[in-house]
Amino acid sequence: MSKKLLEVNDLKINFKTYAGIVQAVRGVSFELYEGETLAIVGESGSGKSVTSNSIMKLIPQPPGIYAGGEILFDGRDLVPLSEKEMAKVRGNDIAMIFQDPMTALNPTMRVGRQITEVILKHNKNVSNAEAKERAIKLLDLVGIPMPEKRFRQFPHEFSGGMRQRVVIAIALAADPKLLIADEPTTALDVTIQAQILELMKDIQKKSNTSIIFITHDLGVVANVADRVAVMYAGQIVEYGTVNDIFYNPRHPYTWGLLGSMPDLKNNVKEELRTIPGSPPDLIHPPKGDAFAARNEYAMAIDYEQEPPMFKISDTHYAKTWLLHPDAPEVPIPDQVQQRIDGYLKEAEENGK
């Protein structure tokens, strides 16, 4: 097994608002090994972006508060670090790819300088000419044609997909060990999405970078991730390898997510399933299991006591009372099972 790069233990992030304290992240723990891709999925407001931003300490404080937990990067806890120490980590050890490439680049600065800026900041003995050379190489690496010419252009002269490539080039500029991609393909159209995902996989293979991939698109997850963490209401509710999550999901929320993914191949006439209700108010998180109110399999205990993480296998954990030995057997809903069978069939065909 390769080296452990990142370990997040019981991380809690709160936000102070006029209405009260919002508990955006409520005790998240996960780990990430070198060269591995972890996908964090969940609906809007589940705390996935806050988790990823908090690893880089990009949460503005105030209103953000680190209410507890630790973020061990290479064995060092990032939470108590000062802004100055964090500045050395950002961009250098951990880099970030943003969701919307249309706004992530400074509109009034040449693309080249936005890349060399990172190189020069983190390598004190690199000259301007060397930095430029490296930036052009990076532009070439991320698949931008005519990098010398592009180096001197402004962001508005690039298309959306090309801008996202520039953003990736910036993220790669200082050879980070960890890349956090916050919905990097959400703002792009589908063909460009596939290209960007390909590019990221390619880069990971070359440089053995670890990636945290935030998304709400399960199709993307199946494509890129090694492991998946499903988040709901500021907590990880199910955690496992891609195969665990897609072929053997155990949490009713994961079933709901899988079921609400439009399936174009297996059953054309099927109606799109949705998860009823809406996420809970995180100013006053509900007692017991946060998902209980939307869970058709909820039991009395779900409203009383928060479930612990049940271990299903060495790699697979889920936070639901349904896994308790005393709980009744609840079979996976038919439609979700159909989906899973479909995936298995597809995987078999691809394997041949």
Partner: protein
């Protein structure tokens, strides 16, 4: 670029023509004459004076004469101050107003942007409240009150700077401050709100994610994008400030251009009115042109119409 500038120069000429025409007819409509404030003349003398300045001609002849004067930039002799040409009056007093104006501009832009940036960086903290308070005070306290207070405390009580007059650099400090303070407040407010708007955008977060420090991010990324509204304000500000302020020049006894704008009108000094109006218009129109060119320098997304790369 050249094509764009030439086109804009054409527009400036049209604008000037309209301004000159409007001014002329407004002067014609206003009652009174340049000689009304003198002791009672015998009618013959008044007729002679009118003949001398061409005021007895029908309006279209006068209009033609004014247009010719304007085109040749020779506005003729002042009707009030005998023997002094309008051109001389402007060339004598404009350098004084210009010096004072440039000092005031530097002060208001420099301190305004600085205050605005500090306020935005420490949003809703003590430095923000302090900077915003200074800005609001600057905007709301009239310049003549501030001028009087500064003259009394700084010049008279503490004896640090001269009270009034125009004999060197130290004479310009107090009046420059008095002119600058309102504009400074306004620029600070503009910068603050524009900085706050930019600070929440993705590229600023990205700059932080690159590991850039707080101030590096501001100076390299946020400020340039935040300055567009400030630049817009600079055009009219420049024209207004470099042509002098009637009130401040009166209070500090500065022989600047500002007073001519006001006194020429109360005196019905037609040639001087026309001269100062045309002069002010030219400065304003060119300041606006320069601002428009500055836009495209600051923000590459703004392409000047008709400009080629």
């Amino acid at each position: 670029m050249l094509k764009y500038i030439l086109k804009r120069l054409g527009y400036i000429l049209i604008a000037l023509y309209l301004i000159v025409t409007a001014t002329f007819f407004l002067m014609q409509l206003a009652p009174g004459s340049p000689f009304a404030s003198e002791r009672d003349f015998p009618p013959q003398i008044e007729a002679q004076l009118n003949a001398k300045y061409g005021l007895d001609n029908p309006w279209y002849i006068q209009y033609k004469d004014y247009l010719i004067d304007t085109v040749t930039f020779d506005f003729g002799e002042s009707m009030k101050y005998k023997g002094r040409s309008t051109n001389d009056m402007i060339t004598e007093s404009f350098p004084i107003s210009l010096t004072l104006g440039i000092e005031a501009m530097l002060l208001s832009v420099g301190f305004g942007i600085l205050l605005g940036v500090i306020a935005a960086l420490y949003h809703n903290k003590f430095p923000d409240y302090l900077a915003s308070t200074i800005a609001v005070l600057g905007i709301s306290v009239p310049s003549f009150i501030l001028a009087g207070l500064m003259q009394y405390f700084i010049a008279f009580k503490l004896d640090l700077l001269p009270v009034s007059g125009w004999k060197g650099f130290q004479y310009s400090i107090l009046p420059a401050f008095a002119i600058a303070i309102t504009h400074m407040g306004f620029i600070a407010k503009l910068t603050r709100s524009s900085m706050l708007e930019q600070s929440s955008s993705d590229y600023v977060k990205m700059a932080r994610a690159k590991g850039l420090g707080k101030w590096t991010t501001v100076f390299k990324h946020t400020l340039r994008n935040a300055l567009l509204p400030v630049v817009t304000y600079l055009g009219p500000l420049t024209a207004g400030v470099v042509t002098g302020s009637f009130i401040i020049e009166q209070i500090f006894a500065i022989p600047g251009l500002g007073k001519h704008f006001v006194t020429s009108i109360t005196n019905r000094d037609y040639t001087v009115i026309m001269g100062t109006t045309v002069f002010y218009s030219i400065i304003l129109l060119f300041a606006v042109l320069i601002v428009d060119i500055l836009y495209s320098v600051i923000d590459p997304r703004i392409k000047l119409k008709g400009a080629k790369k």
